[in-house]
């Protein structure tokens, strides 16, 4: 199911009528500041890296496709057991670019499919968890023209994603959904074709 959706997103992106000079490829780094209670208190803030492809769809409306990656260790709440998380959000959606004197301002919306993997280091809980999470993202940013063909991207995003959990570990734990919500501040270097 997940693979089909990702494939669909890529196809949708590919069939978008682009012109060569209006396509952006970007590498980016950001800070993830979680707002969901458990993630925030277990793992706290984390660094995130990723890439994004942007292409025009209609007039000032652009399609985008991004992949990011986060990895962090933390301690469980109250029990203070070691735990690790890996978070791989894949997003796609639309951006609206509005030109200004130094480049373009943009606002975007998209959907997220994120892989959440955890490793919980306690003998009394299920050690591994790996699920696809679903969610959305809202993006605000500015692309500064720093000399053709490069552009500097400064952005702030808000992303939410949630994955279910049903593993009771032989009725020994109480499972609950894993939420990864947070604000993402970051910057990127975009290459414009």
């Amino acid at each position: 199911m997940m693979k089909k959706i990702i494939l669909l997103a890529v196809l949708a992106f590919l069939v978008t009528p682009v012109t060569a000079q209006e396509v952006f490829i970007e590498i980016k780094g950001s800070g993830f500041f979680p707002t969901s209670h458990l993630f925030k208190n277990i793992y706290h803030e984390a660094g995130m890296i990723g890439g994004e492809l942007t292409a025009p769809a209609y007039n000032n409306l652009y399609a985008w496709l991004s992949v990011d990656y986060l990895r962090k260790s933390g301690l469980s709440l109250i029990g203070n057991s070691k735990t690790k998380v890996r978070y791989l959000p894949i997003g796609f959606g639309l951006k609206y670019l509005h030109p200004f004197c130094y480049g373009d301002l943009y606002f975007g919306l998209g959907v997220l499919a994120a892989r959440i993997r955890t490793h919980d280091f306690s003998p009394n809980v299920a050690p591994f968890y790996s699920k696809w999470a679903w969610g959305g993202i809202i993006k605000f940013g500015a692309l500064f023209d720093i000399g053709c063909p490069f552009m500097l991207d400064v952005f702030v995003n808000y992303a939410v994603s949630k994955a279910s959990s049903h593993n009771t570990f032989n009725n020994q734990v109480v499972p609950h959904s894993a939420k990864v919500n947070g604000v993402i501040f970051g910057g990127g270097l975009a290459y414009r074709f």
Binding site: L77, S81, N124, Y129, V174, S177
Partner: protein, 494 residues
Amino acid sequence: MRSIILKNTIMFSVLSILAVPVQASCPATTPWTDPVNLSISGGVTSNIFSAASSAGFMAVWADSSNRAHYSFSADGQSWSQGLVSAAASNVASNSDVFVGANADGFVVTWIDSSNNGWSSFSADQGASWSTAIRINPNSLSLNANSDVFVNGGSEGFVAAMIGSDNNAYVSYSNGIDAWSAPAQVTTDGSVYDQNWNSKTNRGFVTVKVVGQTAMVTWWNNLFPTYSAFFETINPFSSTTPYPILSVGFFESVPSVDELNGYYMVVSRANVNDGQTYFSVATHVPSWATFAPFATNPRNPDAGPWVAANQAGFISAWVVGENQNDPGTPVWTFSANNGFDWTPVCSILAAPSSTIGGPVGLSANNHGFVATWLDSNDSNAYASFYFTPASVLPPTDVVGCKSQNIFLSQTEYANVITWSPPTSGMPPVSYKIYRDANLTNLVATIPANKPLEFVEHNVQPKVSYTYYLVSVSADDQTSAAVSVTVNHYCQKGSK
């Protein structure tokens, strides 16, 4: 109240069946030490009463020169003697001297020939005594045939008196400061001012102080025994006298002591030729029907006494030759709040026919001391019964639910913590059971490890009960203490 009465009535219907038929034999050798002559030079004119603190035992009596004597023993076996200096020669003739104890010291009380009650305090086991402190104010004259009883607890001392109006009064002091204005216990003038078959035949009111509370018991002039319970002693709360259910009429002042919330009262009753009867109550004064300790011929010549320590209750009294008994102080013991009693056996290896009057009893964690007067030489005697410092249950037992919260799962655990017992044998380990019958062992925690037990992977909304016992080096186990885990350790957890 009604349910408590019903509960106690049912409990002691069972008790009266269970307690009587104990038929085991007496030990070949008495476990009591050979009697020690406390007074040495004779001249004792009173009964011999005693009190105990963790520091030791103190016995008191009066002599023919109207002086008050004390004798102190740290171990119940080696005794020192002296005079209660504050009493001078002012003790009323043929009256009893009483003593109470707490961790601060000993208080001795007596009545003088003008029927005034007095006390003196010693913080150094009798080496020095405070000046005499008047107990009854001028407004309360005491009964001319009564004594002033005293008992001490952690919160202070309570003196119990019979007024000239034959009502019972109690007063509070920390032993050093003035006594409080007397609180009137009875209003109908029904307190009996005699104690048949005792050396002095003087009446008194007995009291047991436990923390801030006091249980007062007395002999009514219509011959039942009565009690009144005070929720507080400083100041005294209001109280209502409550009869200790009777199987006939009684012939002695009741004696009362307390252990783990159970009050035990003993008295001599006239039925079946003066048997010794006992009754038990929880702290609410709703007493069970009196039950006899044993059948003839081990019946008292004088009123029995009772004392308690961690091992259980002991009652002792004097058996007379006139009942075809060799004549001796006898004792019986219950480790289960009166449900079962050991056979009534001699304290002495060689029974005596010259011992009379009530047998004084006191107890601390080391054992029991019995005191009596031997009319053969008019001396005070004491014998000691050693109770091995049994291992006691853990204290401050607390249980709560803890959590280990991860991103996608939460594990719940029951956490139990406790402290070692403050007295008795030191435990080497603690056992934790899941059932009251102590058959389902959950864990054994060594005493030299953190005193904590965690049971993982429990259900979050289920209440769990555990039973903890202490285990000594010789594999004795204490009574169990239970803890129910039904709340979360951390505020705000859910």
